[in-house]
């Protein structure tokens, strides 16, 4: 009798171990191929290979911008055409500095205008955009549906379609020859509101409910609970806002006459017009490099905030 019981128990234990082993094997396999790994493993190479064709063609603009900026004039027009500069030269940079020192307005003024207007655009568009997105995702009010429909409609508008009306409105409002002309028209970003709203939709409603029960008001919930959870969306919108402001030539050329209030990309676009075509190519390459690099820097700085926000939030 006793022996029987023992063997029975032994059998059960064996079965248990077998099951555990199986799930561990499954688990280990899962660990080996998990998403968002913390280290490089050779199993990831196959994913890199799949990306390779796309990476090669998307690498082109970066290679082009960098190599052109450092190419000498003879190499810019060399036959056979070269993708990479063989001899690095700073001639183009020197030409650009020379050209910038000859303008009436100090070069640093354009940089200042661009940096200030971009920074303010990012800050305020994120602020008002996330407030609006919060109301779309969490709050209840009469005009919600029509307003959201209008927001979606605005996403579908081609910018060229409203170029003329914009000119009318800008001059009616007196938003010309003003630092604010660089900022205010860019603050409403329908795409940004839509994106932030989509991320907010993923925040569990229980979180909102329990905060409400604990006595938090909407502004507290917005600032303390929801905003930290949608950081990835905010980061993405910040990148978009920066792009729209930093690369904006239109405002400077159409709405601002005062040379001291114009921005860097506009200044660069005029700089290359005056000089000879050959020197201009090298200089405009450097100019596009200067315009391009802050995009990359910001991207790297902000990417840190994209990952794992949900993981630390205590939501399971």
């Amino acid at each position: 009798m006793k022996k029987d019981k023992d063997t029975e128990q032994l059998r059960l234990e064996k079965l248990k171990k077998k099951l555990q082993k199986k799930s561990r094997r499954n688990y280990r396999r899962f660990q080996g191929i998990k998403i968002n790994p913390s280290f490089f493993h050779k199993s990831q190479i196959k994913f890199l290979l799949l990306m390779l064709p796309m990476l090669i063609i998307t690498l082109l603009p970066i290679v082009y911008i960098f190599s052109h900026a450092f190419k000498s004039l003879s190499e810019l027009y060399a036959y056979p055409p070269k993708i990479f500069a063989t001899r690095l030269t700073f001639d183009n940079f020197r030409n650009l500095i020379l050209a910038t020192s000859q303008t009436g307005v100090p070069f640093i003024r354009y940089v200042f205008n661009s940096v200030v207007s971009s920074a303010l655009t990012i800050f305020f568009s994120l602020l008002i955009g996330s407030l609006a997105a919060y109301s779309f995702s969490f709050l209840k009010y009469k005009l919600k549906k029509p307003l959201f429909a209008l927001n979606q409609l605005a996403i579908m508008i081609v910018p060229v379609a409203i170029a003329v009306p914009r000119f009318i409105v800008m001059s009616e409002l007196g938003l010309t020859n003003n630092m604010l002309s660089h900022i205010i028209p860019l603050l409403a970003m329908p795409v940004g509101v839509f994106l932030i709203k989509q991320f907010m939709d993923q925040v569990p409603r229980e979180l909102y409910e329990s905060a409400k029960i604990d006595g938090a008001n909407n502004f507290q919930i917005f600032w303390k609970i929801v905003i930290p959870l949608v950081k990835p969306a905010l980061v993405t919108v910040a990148i978009l806002a920066f792009q729209s402001s930093w690369n904006n030539v239109e405002t400077s050329s159409l709405y601002v006459d005062d040379e001291a209030l114009k921005t860097l990309p506009y200044y660069f676009s005029t700089l290359t017009l005056g000089t000879s075509a050959i020197a201009a190519q090298g200089m405009s390459a450097v100019a596009s490099l200067i315009i391009f690099v802050p995009n990359i820097v910001l991207f790297i700085l902000l990417q840190k905030n994209v990952m794992n926000t949900m993981a630390y939030s205590g939501i399971k």
Partner: protein, 303 residues
């Protein structure tokens, strides 16, 4: 309950007012003006004069360039670039999520860089690549390999121009939707995968269809909308590539190009506005299809 609701001021409006003040002034008002202008004749100098539906009637009955080239090319372009670009974006986002942080950041920048560079630069690169003489990168490369004996006129052949436009469009398809999908995938709760594998999920394909896509539905919808809208924003590509205005036999001539031509080339603002309204209706049709495909069937909202 009702009395409590009445007493309280709905603070939702505090959240919405700052955004919508600016939004109405700089977006909605402009759209409204544009719609009104579409019923007028407006040459930017004289005050617009009302002409009723004439612009629309002309557009569909007399403008052969619009009906034969701009409209079909735009729709063909959108039907190819929208879905294919969207799939590539998702695939790239998913693949990027499989590598570790530092490498991923570098690769993400590379993939996103076509969207970071301005449109002018983008066409310059492809122009030198597809240039028809022996100096073009592609011709030079193919000549060296001995695959061709004489330079190919990439940008003179009308069907090739469209093909190259598709290529450039796909090249630039990793836009903000791609970034949204990437951060969506990265933020999926890992426990979900773990649980699914313990429950017997076998392959990574199952993982994509049962865990990844359902978990990032909001981002998938956003990506789809942006893919659709983005395709209609493309303008001036054929001209920039071929260096001819208008491009040979109006190859790759898009509605936005046609709009620019009438609006800023001939100053027929009313007519251009009518075109923008038609374009908006087309985009809306594409939008509603993508919402139907990727949107949540029923809003599972508590509030």
């Amino acid at each position: 309950m009702k009395s409590v609701k009445k007493k309280k001021f709905n603070d939702a409006y505090l959240f919405i007012i700052p955004y919508f003040t600016i939004f109405f002034t700089f977006v909605i008002a402009l759209i409204a003006i544009s719609v009104i202008l579409s019923f007028t004749y407006y040459d930017t100098i004289n005050f617009p004069s009302f002409v009723g539906l004439r612009n629309y009637v002309n557009l569909f009955t007399q403008d052969t360039d619009f009906m034969q080239f701009a409209l079909p090319t735009t729709i063909k372009y959108a039907l190819i670039i929208g879905p294919v670009g969207y799939m590539i974006s998702f695939l790239m986002a998913w693949l990027l999520a499989q590598v570790s942080y530092k490498l991923r950041t570098v690769l993400a920048i590379i993939l996103y860089s076509p969207s970071l560079t301005s449109g002018v630069l983008m066409t310059v690169i492809w122009k030198v690549t597809f240039s028809g003489d022996t100096r073009g990168y592609l011709n030079y490369f193919l000549l060296n390999l001995g695959l061709i004996n004489e330079p190919v006129q990439w940008l003179q052949n009308t069907s090739m121009i469209f093909g190259i436009m598709i290529f450039v469009g796909l090249w630039a398809s990793m836009s903000v939707g791609f970034l949204a999908m990437l951060s969506g995938i990265l933020n999926i709760d890992k426990d979900l995968y773990e649980a699914a594998y313990v429950d017997g999920m076998k392959s990574r394909w199952q993982e994509i269809f049962y865990i990844t896509i359902p978990s990032i539905k909001p981002q998938m919808l956003f990506g789809a909308v942006m893919a659709v809208v983005g395709t209609f924003n493309a303008a001036g590509m054929a001209t920039a590539l071929t260096g001819a205005y208008p491009p040979p036999q109006l190859a790759g001539w898009l509605i936005v190009d046609h709009m620019n031509d009438f609006g800023f080339g001939r100053y027929e603002m009313g007519y251009a506005s009518a075109m923008s309204v038609v374009l908006l209706l087309i985009v809306m049709a594409f939008y509603s299809v993508s919402v139907r495909l990727f949107g949540e069937k029923k809003e599972k909202r508590i509030r």
